[in-house]
């Protein structure tokens, strides 16, 4: 009896979140799996020509931008995540070690988190501007020629580099915050013990700080991978709807951009199913990498 009562109460408390999740998360996921098996689904008329298992996926893969989108997404993920995790870790260890101005620096490093991604993207586009950008100016000081990073006709390589810098920087704030709170929860006695035992700083970092922070590092790595696979806002923020530098349109297209591209054509029969197929591909990739991540980290994470 008592158990049952508790159950009803629990469901009652869960209801608000659950209702929203069902409407905006679970139903769309289920719907995507349904849409993807429809052939030539016309969303305006609600008609379709039978069922198919592969056709919609084939449409996505045959898309002229698919290969580029995959390359870009993978590159953004596998470069920006490790780089930003490592830099964030170093920055937070440093922040944790200083006493003076810690609060100030903490605020500075946390600012990107509360700033609109589009706004930051525009600021970065300006930083990388060929003629008045800070990057080229600074390069000029050490005698380097200006580079056309993001301007008209900029190469894929330069544009991608600029985008990666922005993605790394933009993702650091949250990581630093998590690492810093993790560092502050490590018992200071471990460090005292290590000092008494004549441990070198680099060894303290590798053998004590990183292992004791490993649950946070693991959490951040997983969520960052998932976030990076969904990269899209960053590209829009820096390059706008063109998804690339002027004259090199769609050079920085990502998998999520493919979904939106397909949605833009939603009046055309089958386009909606194509969007569903693209998102399921992304979902599968994310799932596989998350599982790999969890497997790899099993032995390295110390709770």
């Amino acid at each position: 009896m008592l158990e049952e009562k508790h159950n009803i109460k629990a469901w009652f408390y869960l209801a608000p979140a659950l209702v929203l999740l069902i409407i905006f998360t679970f139903y769309p996921i289920f719907n995507a799996f349904f849409l993807v098996i429809l052939k030539d689904f016309n969303y305006l008329q609600g008609t379709y020509q039978g069922f198919t298992l592969t056709e919609n996926f084939v449409h996505v893969i045959r898309n002229q931008n698919f290969a580029q989108a995959m390359i870009n997404t993978m590159l953004i993920t596998f470069v920006s995540v490790p780089v930003s995790v490592v830099i964030a870790l170093l920055v937070s260890v440093w922040l944790n070690a200083i006493v003076k101005l810690r609060g100030t620096f903490q605020t500075i490093f946390f600012l990107p988190y509360v700033t609109n991604a589009i706004a930051i993207g525009m600021a970065f586009a300006f930083l990388f501007n060929r003629d008045y950008g800070l990057i080229n100016t600074a390069m000029g000081w050490i005698g380097l020629n200006p580079v056309n990073w993001v301007g008209l006709g900029a190469t894929w390589r330069h544009a991608m580099f600029s985008l990666l810098v922005y993605v790394v920087w933009g993702g650091m704030a949250f990581k630093i915050m998590v690492f810093l709170s993790g560092l502050q929860s490590i018992d200071k006695q471990y460090y005292d013990a290590a000092r008494v035992d004549s441990t070198k700083r680099s060894r303290i970092f590798r053998k004590i700080t990183v292992p004791l922070l490993s649950p946070m590092i693991f959490y951040i790595t997983i969520t960052s991978f998932i976030g990076a696979f969904k990269a899209y806002t960053e590209v829009i923020g820096m390059f706008g709807q063109r998804l690339g530098p002027a004259g090199n349109d769609r050079a920085l297209i990502t998998v999520v951009a493919l979904v939106y591209d397909a949605l833009d054509r939603s009046g055309v029969p089958g386009a909606l199913s194509e969007a569903a197929a693209a998102s399921i591909i992304l979902f599968s990739i994310t799932l596989v990498f998350t599982l790999i991540n969890m497997q790899v980290s099993k032995k390295r994470v110390h709770y």
Binding site: D187, D192, V196
Partner: protein, 355 residues
């Protein structure tokens, strides 16, 4: 390694610039190869002293010598000390073996050699069969041994222990304190340990240093400090059950507590504080020290009488430990005499012992 503390002082400053003197002009010499207990109530500066010896805290003034070396400004990593923390500070992600080997790896001891040394020291402290466990899989007593093994494995000049037994249950505490004594004897390392438990300090220390409010009150062999306390604080702090305190008066060469005559005294006439150890009473046929027995506790070989104190305060009671052979029942009225060497007189104002 003899350790010498010269006028060692530590002042902590709060954010509001308020100063707290944790250790005040401490001036003690700790003989080489001995086990020394730093004893005192919490907040007396004993842990602060230990951490200054370790180098983790910097003294405000004074100096620390290890033998002939002045180590006052030497950082902890260069002092060659082993330190066992109150909650052991074992690295939770490492096995027992990795924990014990950690200091050796820092000293670049070859791996084979390090494994062998770690095994030897683990055998010495009795955890040789637990090398592959993680700290969470160990009991408190086992963790404590790992911490000692980790501190000892690099053959430190000095071993420091901060309240090493406080996290253990009563039975384990008895067992482990003897273990510490044994390990210390076998290694011969000068060992300082901090405790607030007088029984613990008395039972295993070669010498104890009793501290109060940052000042060393008395230093010496435990029994000697117990038998010849220099002041009221020391007399009160040592001994279970604690010493009985009475207000007394010397009149015409006789010591009185209330109207009871406790014998002759060579001191001049004055009011004094009288301390009598519970074991300092004898039940006698005739005495002016009369007492009414409230309760009788017989524990093993001792009988403790809880006695109403008729001479100073009606409500207060005091304890007397007498031979279990005495047939005394609650409610009896008895007469007591006092063994002279178990009675101490203290100055009413300063608390210093009067001789």
């Amino acid at each position: 390694m003899e350790i010498k503390l010269n006028n060692l002082t530590k002042v902590f400053q709060s954010k509001k610039q308020e100063e707290t003197i944790a250790v005040n002009n401490l001036d003690i010499t700790i003989p080489s190869g001995k086990l020394i207990g730093l004893l005192g109530p919490s907040g007396c500066g004993k842990s602060t002293t230990l951490y200054m010896i370790s180098g983790l805290l910097k003294p405000t003034a004074g100096s620390i010598f290890f033998g002939d070396d002045d180590v006052t400004t030497v950082p902890p990593e260069e002092r060659g000390i082993g330190l066992v923390f109150q909650n052991y500070a074992l690295y939770p992600h490492m096995t027992v073996q990795q924990n014990i080997m950690f200091p050796l790896e820092n000293l670049k001891v070859p791996k084979e050699e390090a494994i062998k040394q770690a095994q030897d020291i683990a055998d010495l402290v009795g955890i040789g069969n637990l090398m592959n466990r993680k700290p969470v899989q160990l009991s408190g007593g086992q963790q404590q041994r790992v911490a000692i093994a980790r501190a000892l494995v690099k053959k430190p000049r000095v071993l420091l222990l901060d309240e090493p037994l406080s996290n253990l249950d009563a039975r384990l505490r008895l067992q482990t304190r003897e273990e510490i004594k044994r390990i210390q004897r076998e290694t011969g390392i000068t060992t300082i340990f901090v405790t607030h438990d007088q029984e613990e300090a008395m039972s295993i220390s070669d010498e104890i240093v009793l501290m109060k409010e940052g000042i060393a009150q008395q230093k010496g062999a435990p029994q000697e400090v117990y038998d010849v306390p220099t002041n009221l604080f020391v007399a009160k702090f040592l001994g279970t059950p604690p010493i009985n305190i009475f207000d007394g008066e010397i009149k015409g060469g006789i010591l009185y507590v209330g109207d009871a005559d406790l014998g002759k005294s060579k001191l001049k006439d004055q009011e004094v504080v009288v301390g009598i150890r519970p074991e300092g009473f004898k039940v006698v046929e005739d005495s002016s020290f009369q007492a009414h027995v409230e309760f009788v506790e017989t524990i093993g070989r001792d009988t403790t009488l809880i006695i109403k104190d008729p001479h100073t305060d009606e409500k207060r009671t005091f304890r007397a430990i007498v031979d279990a052979d005495e047939q005394i029942k609650p409610g009896d009225n008895i007469k007591l005499s006092v063994k002279p060497h178990k009675l101490f007189l203290f100055d009413k104002k300063t608390g210093e012992v009067l001789k």
